[in-house]
């Protein structure tokens, strides 16, 4: 922490900061957070975000359950999580303060909109007395800003309604935070101009308020210190900030381009997966066809139809939707058609916690179908990794003529991080060869991958019939023969196993032998990585390995695991990967399970590692 002076204020240089913007769901906190993220990315910080909004669309104003939050962690070095606990809380109302208080750091900076701490709002937030002056906030560094009045002030000369005026108060908060963390207002002004192009009054007002907030920061005595977070040392390239759902959508379009196949998406809206359908529906000029089906079953069934017709066929959903697709996935297994099923996991069981994250659909993805019905199971580890894994899922589906389930989760789907974009021409093509030769064509003959030929309707002479009844090996005719059935069950399983030959080995970050390996999968990557980094910084040796391919596991998985005395598996479930690892490798593993609808905190993983290493917590 270096300190310098500027404009009469101290400038303190920080390595990383975690900010939480919190307010009513109508307060525009998601927008504020997103703008702050984008600008922060532009100035070259590494960052990671965690939007967290209520299940209600517009919960009644001021309620505790109506609080919408956007947590953002940015840094001058490599980071991997949205931060365990915020250093700064911007609380637009009492409810936002109350909900977040238990989670912020000791001595955190709290900026409150004092205007909203009126008796009515305090009551709705179930405060008996005003926390701003009853000692509740002792120990914190609290800055009182009458944000609403200042906003109204800034716009007193406009013709806007009170409603319109107060609605722009989030820009005041944003401007203030820009000043505080030394970020430019221009990108947001640009954005405002575009966004409100059709409504120049509103655009002007928002810009004015943004600037008012910025100048307020500069002029007020309330802030004595200003912070700077240097840009991170990221690899060279062109970057953008990207969320997991958007990365998934773009990854799918890319796979379509790389394979030369038209993209078909059959899907039914469900939180938090709907965005993938929404993004893809905007890509009409990429030849993408999106079909909003009547339900999840029709979503996957239409995709199976499109796959039979020769498209790169996708279906997207979340937990309960995956359950509904179970029977049809079995059909795709039996008919050996390529199909990518993307499941953005959310809190379960049943409707559960639909807007929260979880990792509890792994066993469902593995086993949630009748009969022996193996499919490939992949999991993306970070928002931008969704891009790569969407391509990988497509590649495996097309090369092995199999359904592939790609698991992401609410956290990486909604969270965002800077992404160094690839050059499309440098990405590897996905080879697809449709059968065309009549000579020697058998629908269930197999190549060395054990993959069957794909003959699409329209090909003369290759007319054939497939279906859900057991198929005779090679000919694909219906067969009730006992030995054939045994063989086919084993062939289908072996085919999935052979995917091992086509996927990268499991990498170990850190020593390849040692006391503790932290093994993770999917969206916990960041939390684990940060925990491991911290433990290492305190001088311990610990390794990390992260599974992105779960069925089959990478070839060297057993070898990797056998090199460690202890294997710690942190998961946002009750131990689903642990269960598979135990049965697959007969290894006792140590579990860390939290099912709280939130990313696991790095500090909890850190403590667990230290506990295993025998150090006292945090040394």
């Amino acid at each position: 922490m270096e300190e310098t002076k500027s404009n009469g204020k101290t400038v303190q240089s920080l390595n990383d900061v975690t900010v939480m913007f919190a307010g009513d769901s109508g307060d525009g906190m998601q927008l504020t957070g997103t703008q702050f993220s984008n600008t922060t990315a532009l100035v070259g910080n590494d960052l990671s975000t965690l939007p967290d909004y209520p299940a209600e669309i517009r919960a009644p104003a001021g309620t505790l359950y109506g609080v919408s939050g956007f947590q953002l962690h940015f840094s001058s070095s490599d980071i991997h999580t949205p931060g365990d606990s915020p250093d700064v809380l911007v609380a637009m109302n009492p409810a936002a303060l109350k909900v977040n208080l238990k989670n912020i750091k000791e001595h955190a900076l709290i900026i409150v909109n004092t205007d909203s701490f009126d008796p009515k709002n305090l009551k709705i937030a179930k405060y008996d007395s005003n926390p701003l002056d009853d000692g509740t906030l002792e120990g914190f560094h609290v800055i009182h800003v009458p944000i609403t009045s200042l906003t109204t002030n800034a716009l007193r000369d406009t013709n806007l309604s009170i409603k319109e005026i107060t609605r722009s108060k989030n820009f005041f908060a944003l401007g203030m935070m820009y000043w505080l963390y030394n970020r430019p207002v221009e990108p947001t002004i640009e954005w405002i101009k575009q966004k409100f192009a059709k409504n120049p009054d509103i655009a002007a007002a928002n810009e004015a308020v943004l600037k008012a907030g910025y100048y307020f920061g500069d002029q007020t005595e309330l802030f004595t210190t200003r912070y700077s977070v240097e840009s991170a040392n990221l690899p060279k390239g062109v970057y953008r900030n990207i969320s997991g759902n958007e990365a998934t959508a773009i990854g799918l379009v890319t796979a379509s381009e790389l394979s030369g196949l038209p993209l078909f998406l059959g899907s039914y809206p469900i939180t938090p997966a709907s965005e993938i359908l929404q993004y893809l529906s905007t890509y009409k000029n990429y030849g993408v066809k999106t079909f909003q089906a009547e339900d999840e079953i029709s979503g996957i069934a239409s995709a199976i139809g499109a796959s039979f017709g020769g498209s790169l066929a996708i279906t997207t959903t979340s937990g309960p939707g995956l359950a509904l697709k179970a029977e049809a996935i079995g059909l795709a297994v039996m008919t050996e058609l390529p199909l990518v099923i993307i499941n953005v996991q959310r809190g379960g069981p049943s409707t559960g916690l639909p807007t929260k994250t979880e990792q509890a659909d792994l066993l469902q993805a593995m086993y949630g179908r009748n009969g022996e019905a193996p499919v490939a199971v992949l999991a993306a580890s970070t928002p931008s990794d969704c891009f790569h894994m969407a391509i990988e899922a497509s590649r495996i589906a097309l090369n092995f003529m199999t359904p592939v389930i790609l698991l992401t989760d609410g956290y990486i789907a909604n969270g965002a991080e800077p992404w160094k974009m690839p050059l499309i021409e440098e990405l590897e093509k996905i080879e697809v060869k449709f059968a065309t030769e009549v000579e020697g064509f058998f629908p269930y003959s197999r190549n060395e991958k054990l993959s069957r030929p794909w003959a699409k309707p329209g090909t003369p002479g290759l007319e054939h019939r497939i279906g859900g009844l057991e198929k005779a090996n090679i000919t694909g005719n219906v067969s009730h023969d006992p030995d054939n059935h045994d063989l086919m069950c084993k062939l289908r399983t072996e085919k999935i196993q052979r995917i091992q030959n086509d996927i990268p080995e499991l990498e170990v970050d850190g020593p390849s032998k040692g006391d503790v390996l932290v093994l993770g999968w999917g969206g916990t990557y960041g939390s684990i990585r940060e925990a491991v980094d911290r433990v290492r910084k305190s001088g311990y040796k610990v390794s990390q390995a992260h599974l992105k391919y779960i069925n089959p596991f990478p070839k060297n998985t057993r070898e990797v695991l056998n090199n460690f005395k202890h294997i710690l598996i942190p998961e946002i479930n009750l131990g689903q990967l642990a269960r598979i690892i135990r049965s697959e490798f007969l290894l006792p593993v140590i579990q860390l399970n939290q099912v709280r609808g939130l990313p696991i905190k790095s500090v909890d993983i850190q403590n667990k590692i230290l506990e295993i290493l025998g150090g006292n917590n945090g040394k």
């Binding site: 390239g237 000029n285 009547e294 499109a306 020769g310 309707p457 279906g467």
Partner: protein, 343 residues
């Protein structure tokens, strides 16, 4: 054929449409006739064999694709309309047919069916209605008459059946027709018309299951009774039927009644004239509900045909328009389009 689908150069025969698989229905099953009529008709619908796909669900009827020497997909129970929908949307160049049963389409598949109708997906649905679950050995179906004694209703069923045409019309199907397994000529003509229709074509084929529901349609197919119980609908012709073609349907308000045009009191000019092209769905709804009244004959033929843009046309057009406006998508641009920065 009104479709945008390639036409044949060489004239095919019924045999060309017969696959190499043994047909495995019970001897005497009405499904044989349906298969035969399809195979006889298909050389005339003007579509190349390789551009035809038959999709089915599960049931005796759903075995149909195995016997057609076209592309075929014997899928899972009830989902054929949804699979066919995805296939047709992604491949507008194909002629997509669904073979299904009263259980497959109207029980488990009901939702996909009504949504296909609503969206006017350009697929042809032939529903083999034997008013029973054949393949699972004789449970009642949603089209079984009330009071039916079956394996699952030993004391008689208590639910009212669907009226398939009524359901299809309620869901706005653009082509609704009915035919009989035992009237080969008629069935052929209806199949041909379904093939020609651009949009969701729903054809209910009354089919005898001689094992579990034998004689369900005997009145409509037996030599002695059929003339008095079947009304053959023909476009712009008066609705006449009966052994001597002397009976006619007259409209009494919205209610069809039977008149005798030779009874001195009525003449053929009293008889309701069929108009299958009436865009308004009411006329066809009256026809559909004639089966509610046991005194009325059962209409077969085309209840209505309405032309409006299909879903696949809509999506193709939309893609063209957007592409015209924005240019064919450039992936690299897509990546670099928003808020980028360089390091």
């Amino acid at each position: 054929m009104a479709n945008n689908i390639d036409v044949n150069e060489v004239k095919l025969t019924a045999k060309d449409f017969s696959s190499d698989q043994d047909v495995r229905w019970c001897p005497g099953c009405g499904d044989y006739s349906i298969l035969a009529q399809v195979q006889r008709t298909f050389p005339d619908i003007g579509v190349k064999k390789e551009n035809i796909v038959w999709v089915s669900g599960i049931g005796c009827s759903s075995r149909f694709p195995y016997y057609m020497n076209t592309y075929g997909f014997h899928s899972i129970h009830g989902r054929a309309p949804a699979i066919a929908t995805g296939l047709k949307i992604s491949r507008p160049d194909l002629s997509v047919w669904v073979a299904t049963g009263d259980g497959d389409l109207m029980s488990i598949g009901g939702n996909h069916f009504i949504h296909a109708c609503r969206k006017n997906i350009d697929i042809k649905i032939l529903m083999f209605n034997n008013r029973i679950y054949g393949l699972t050995k004789g449970q009642y179906s949603p089209t079984s008459e009330k009071g039916k004694v079956t394996k699952t209703t030993p004391y008689g069923s208590i639910d009212y059946p669907f009226n398939p045409a009524s359901l299809a019309l309620g869901a706005e199907s653009t082509f609704v027709a009915r035919s009989l397994d035992r009237d080969p000529k008629h069935l052929q003509s209806i199949i041909k018309r379904a093939a020609d229709h651009k949009g969701t074509a729903f054809v209910e084929i009354l089919q005898n299951c001689n094992i579990f529901n034998d004689g369900a349609f005997a009145l409509l197919t037996d030599k002695e009774t059929k003339a008095d119980h079947v009304l053959v609908l023909e476009h712009s012709k008066p609705m006449l039927f009966g052994k001597e073609n002397n009976l006619g349907i007259k409209l009494d308000g919205f209610r069809p009644v039977v008149i005798d045009i030779n009874d001195g009191k009525h003449s053929v000019s009293d008889v309701w004239v069929h108009n299958e092209e009436d865009h308004h769905p009411i006329r066809s709804f009256i026809l559909a509900h004639m089966t509610d009244d046991p005194k009325l004959p059962t209409p077969i033929g085309i209840f209505r045909e309405v032309i409006k843009p299909t879903y696949d046309e809509g999506i193709t057009e939309q893609i063209e328009n957007v592409t015209k406006k924005k240019g064919r998508g450039d992936l690299q641009k897509l990546l670099f389009e928003s808020n980028t920065w360089e390091v």
